[in-house]
């Protein structure tokens, strides 16, 4: 038997004697289950990293063995005080019950109460008699490289030094271990290995420097810390989400500017001119010219109005789809096919967004799935990760106490409610059902009313705008009427919806979900109404009498730019509305609540930061950005800017206007995955209309990079045609039924295989859990027997003990 300590240079003699006796003990005292384990010394059988991990626990075993050995051997050092009267103490000796702290923890004074403390103190005495100053003995054993097996080199020493910080011991002990490691003999490394190690060290050093640098430049770091302190990390996660969304928009904007905007701005375009001699008046160049003339004829009185209306000269800027040319860009010898670049950039940008959301959310989505299966520590994580350790404000603390209290109550109530549901009488059942049904119908009616209101407003505005004889102010109002009506509906209706949901009597969690879902649906449906009205202008096919656009539908010359302007107006109005509400309605409310001593104002004006409500606001902006970025390439950049400002607006709403929420307990990871889930839904909602338009609608003939194409998607098709034939052939083969069908079958089989595997594993989990419980019972039983046995033994050997002095002293 090679004991780990024996392998080192400094071997305590007493320990060695004990170990030898331990070994002898094995044969004679086989009744003791620990004796065998005591002889087993860590490091003999196991190798490498596994050993390092096990050793601290191994020492616990070894010492437990020592304990028994002492019992059975009168004459060895033995202290009756330390012997456990209670099997529970043995339970703490088991390796499965120990954290590293227990085995490495050092007592400052000799403490006779707990066995392990007692043990460590004896050990300390032993080592001290040998004139060694190794206080953190156990750890040293754990940390010291085993010289007999493989001699330490500089790299392993360094690696172990990096591991010290994870140890739950005091700084003085850590320092000592470090000194020990540094003073121990090590191999100098040479050649390639030394170089590699040097590189690793440099890498670590750079990482530290980068961390320092990063904390200094990280955007909004101090804001996040402040929020953490006052509201806890769950609220902060919302703001981190805003930041994440902003970064996504910035990346998208960079891609778009480098592939679309920059080439257009730098390179020159050559559009064909409209020559009446050899071209009909409906040809692309002539339509383009018509649009240019139309634009220059549309003279708005001042620049302010133009900017506000988003028309006039703004039409002919990089902001809108209409500006981009349909001919390839040429700069010297460089040839840049802008239409193709335009379409493919947007395709890749949308794919990028999709995969980024999926990737960020994947962990959270998985957790949600697991949770829905019920394999989740609901109560335990509520208690153990309940407190936000970074909280430091009194208000936040009391709110947190209350929120935790309510959440626990809610968990308790939940079961009761389920019981209630079962025991509910038929009358009650009918009543709740009826209420919910009527509420649902009411909500649908409200949706219908809101949508038709918006629809008629838009129709009114469009018909009025056909005639020209209005004052500028009235015209501006008409222009903004659709946007105003949509934003107005978005502001008013959610309050009604919120009130209605509370009448339906769902559980708090479901109520929140309902509110969130309905708010999102409302936002989407209002935009949908706008899109339908735009579609009614655009969807007509061009008749034989029409020149460039369909006159029967009154299609604008460049309808993409027209649609983009509509959406831009909504974005602007919505954004202004948010600022207005935060600073001019909610801020005074907060002042009233804080300074007027009146119950009514307190009830009416106290606000809590309702994450879900604000989430809808943020996601809505992103929805509009995605919806319009194809017809407005600068939209992602604008979106990033808006989100940047919105961060401060929401921060104001959170830090100044709101109190920490005491009614809802937000969870960090759960909320984050919810944001991403909502964002994913929004992405699909935005992509729906875009893809629909790309496949079915004809691009306007007077403007934009795609004029002259049958649909937006047909350019993709024609580009594909121009690929080399081998790629085309390859694609045809892959998509042909001879390949696709077997692939499908294969995938299906694979899916089935995993399904079976999961089912089996689930079964196995149940079986193993049962097994574990049985083992636990067995252990309990054995421990009881053992303690009884020890008690017996103790009484028998009591007289013998007093005669023999402890070995440690005699040595």
């Amino acid at each position: 038997m090679v004991h780990r300590q024996g392998t080192g240079t400094n071997l305590p003699l007493v320990q060695m004697i004990r170990n030898l006796k331990d070994k002898a003990e094995n044969s004679s005292f086989s009744l003791n289950p620990f004796a065998e384990r005591a002889a087993w010394s860590p490091g003999t059988e196991m190798s490498g990293g596994e050993r390092k991990k096990r050793t601290p626990r191994g020492t616990g075993w070894e010492e437990a063995g020592g304990e028994f050995y002492q019992e059975s051997y009168p004459g060895a050092e033995l202290d009756l005080e330390a012997l456990p009267r209670d099997p529970h103490y043995f339970a703490t000796l088991l390796p499965s019950k120990q954290n590293r702290a227990a085995t490495t923890r050092k007592p400052s004074k000799v403490d006779n109460k707990a066995t392990y403390r007692r043990r460590t103190s004896t050990r300390q005495r032993n080592t001290n008699t040998m004139g060694q100053n190794t206080i953190p003995n156990d750890i040293q054993v754990a940390m010291m490289p085993d010289l007999s097996e493989n001699l330490a080199n500089e790299e392993t020493t360094w690696e172990e030094m990096m591991l010290i910080k994870a140890m739950p011991v005091t700084m003085a002990q850590k320092k000592e271990i470090k000194a020990k490691l540094l003073s121990a003999d090590t191999f100098r490394m040479q050649g390639m290995r030394r170089l590699k190690w040097r590189r690793r060290k440099l890498w670590e050093y750079l990482k530290v420097r980068w961390k320092e640098f990063h904390t200094r430049i990280e955007l909004w770091r101090s804001s996040f810390q402040k929020m953490d302190g006052r509201f806890g990390p769950a609220i902060t996660s919302f703001f981190t989400f805003i930041k994440w969304l902003m970064l996504l928009n910035i990346v998208v904007a960079l891609i778009i500017s480098s592939f679309i905007i920059l080439p257009t701005a730098v390179m020159e375009e050559r559009e064909e001119e409209c020559l009446p001699t050899n071209q009909t008046s409906t040809s692309i160049p002539c339509c383009s010219q018509l649009y240019m003339e139309h634009n220059s004829s549309l003279a708005a009185p001042s620049a302010v109005f133009e900017v506000l209306q988003g028309s006039g000269w703004l039409d002919r800027t990089l902001l809108f789809y209409g500006y981009y040319t349909y001919t390839p860009l040429i700069n010297g010898s460089i040839y840049y096919d802008l239409p193709v670049a335009y379409v493919f950039t947007f395709m890749s940008v949308f794919l990028l967004c999709f995969f980024t959301i999926l990737k960020s959310g994947s962990v959270g989505f998985k957790e949600r799935l697991i949770e829905s299966e019920g394999q989740y520590y609901k109560f335990c994580s509520l208690v153990f990760s309940g407190w936000d350790f970074c909280l430091h404000s009194d208000k936040g603390t009391s709110a947190k106490h209350k929120a935790l209290f309510l959440e626990m109550k809610e968990h308790i109530e939940q079961e009761r409610r389920e019981d209630d549901k079962k025991n509910r009488s038929r009358d009650e059942c009918c009543r709740t059902l009826l209420t919910r049904l009527s509420m649902k119908i009411l909500v649908k009616l409200i949706f219908a009313a809101a949508s038709s209101l918006i629809y008629f407003t838009i129709q009114f505005a469009y018909t009025e705008l056909q005639t020209d004889d209005y004052t500028d102010e009235y015209r501006l109002l008409l222009e903004y009427m659709p946007a105003l009506s949509i934003v107005g509906v978005n502001l008013v209706v959610p309050n009604i919806l919120h009130y209605l949901v509370t009448l339906e009597g769902y559980s708090p969690l479901n109520t929140q979900r309902m509110v969130l879902l309905r708010n999102l649906l409302l936002r989407f449906s209002t935009i949908c109404v706008l899109l339908v009205s735009i579609h009614s202008l655009v969807g007509c096919s061009i008749g034989p009498n029409d020149a460039c656009v369909s006159h029967s539908c009154r299609t604008p010359l460049c309808w993409e730019t027209f649609a983009a302007q509509q959406i831009l107006k909504i974005v602007v109005v919505d954004f202004l509305a948010q600022i207005g509400i935060t600073f001019f309605i909610n801020f005074p409310r907060m002042l009233l609540a804080r300074h007027v001593r009146c119950k009514l104002t307190k009830v009416m004006c106290l606000q809590e930061f309702d994450i879900f409500k604000h989430l809808v606001d943020v996601v809505y902006i992103q929805f509009l950005v995605w919806l319009s970025s194809f017809i407005m390439p600068l939209m992602p950049a604008l979106g990033a800017l808006l989100l940047f400002v919105l961060f401060y607006v929401k921060k104001f709403a959170c830090m100044v206007n709101s109190m920490p929420s005491s009614t809802t307990l937000y969870r960090v990871r759960k909320s984050t995955s919810l944001y991403l889930l909502v964002l994913l839904g929004t992405f699909f909602a935005a992509m729906g209309p875009v893809i629909f338009a790309a496949v079915t609608l004809e691009p306007s003939r007077s403007c934009g990079p795609l004029r002259g194409q049958r649909t937006y998607a047909s350019l993709v098709e024609s580009t594909y045609r121009s690929f080399p034939t081998w790629i085309q052939n390859g694609a045809t083969i892959i998509t042909s039924s001879t390949v696709a069908f077997p692939t499908l079958v294969f995938l299906w089989l694979l899916f089935y295989y995993y399904y079976i595997l999961t089912r089996e594993n689930r079964q196995m989990v149940i079986v193993l859990k049962k097994q574990l419980v049985l083992e636990g019972h067995d252990k309990q039983f054995l421990l009881n027997r053992l303690s009884a046995f020890i008690k017996q033994h103790q009484e028998r050997h009591k007289p013998a003990r007093s005669i023999d002095p402890p070995i440690a002293n005699s040595a």
Partner: protein
């Protein structure tokens, strides 16, 4: 840095950087915070031992229901009084870069009130009691909660959570690492 640096030598800072999850600069920040707790005492002796009630004036610990436990766990004399090195240890464990396993180990010790290396029913009750602060649960509600916690996590059915079981819970509750931190 000048004056701030004067209380530590470069080697000491290097030691601290190697042995904690902080960079040298952050170590100095921690010391500044420690000094702010008792400027006159720490000014004389940079490693002065501050009594627990002084340490508990640190904003995050003041409102923390487990503040006294944290002090006791990290105190090298086990009575809650902390020297700067104890304080540094504490902040290192609560820093953002400390791995979850290290945090879990300390969390276990914080929650283990009677120090028997098991989270028994009494420990769990105490944790819940401290979490809800001034509010009170009835005995049956408390019993229900504890019973449910044990049903979830006590895999070997011995009526208490061992460290391994606790670690398992922490593995499965993703919020833990984002909650168990204190900003510098």
């Amino acid at each position: 840095m000048g004056q701030k640096c004067s209380q530590f030598t470069e080697e000491e800072l290097q030691d601290y950087q190697d042995l904690t999850y902080f960079t040298k600069k952050e170590v100095l920040q921690v010391h500044q915070k420690f000094k702010n707790l008792a400027p006159e005492r720490v000014g004389h002796n940079r490693n002065a031992k501050l009594p627990m009630n002084k340490v508990l004036q640190y904003p995050e610990l003041r409102v923390n229901p487990f503040g006294d436990r944290i002090c006791k766990i990290f105190s090298s004399s086990h009575d809650g009084d902390c020297t700067f090195e104890d304080f540094l240890d504490m902040m290192s464990v609560f820093s953002e870069t400390a791995p979850t396993a290290v945090k879990a180990e300390h969390a276990f010790r914080i929650f283990d009130f009677d120090g028997d290396d098991m989270l028994g029913v009494a420990d769990l009750r105490e944790v819940i009691d401290r979490l809800i602060g001034p509010h009170r649960l009835t005995d049956s509600e408390m019993a229900y909660l504890v019973q449910n916690m044990l049903a979830e996590a006590d895999l070997d059915d011995d009526g208490a959570l061992s460290f391994a079981e606790f670690e398992h819970v922490i593995d499965k509750s993703p919020d833990f690492s984002s909650v168990f931190k204190i900003h510098l």
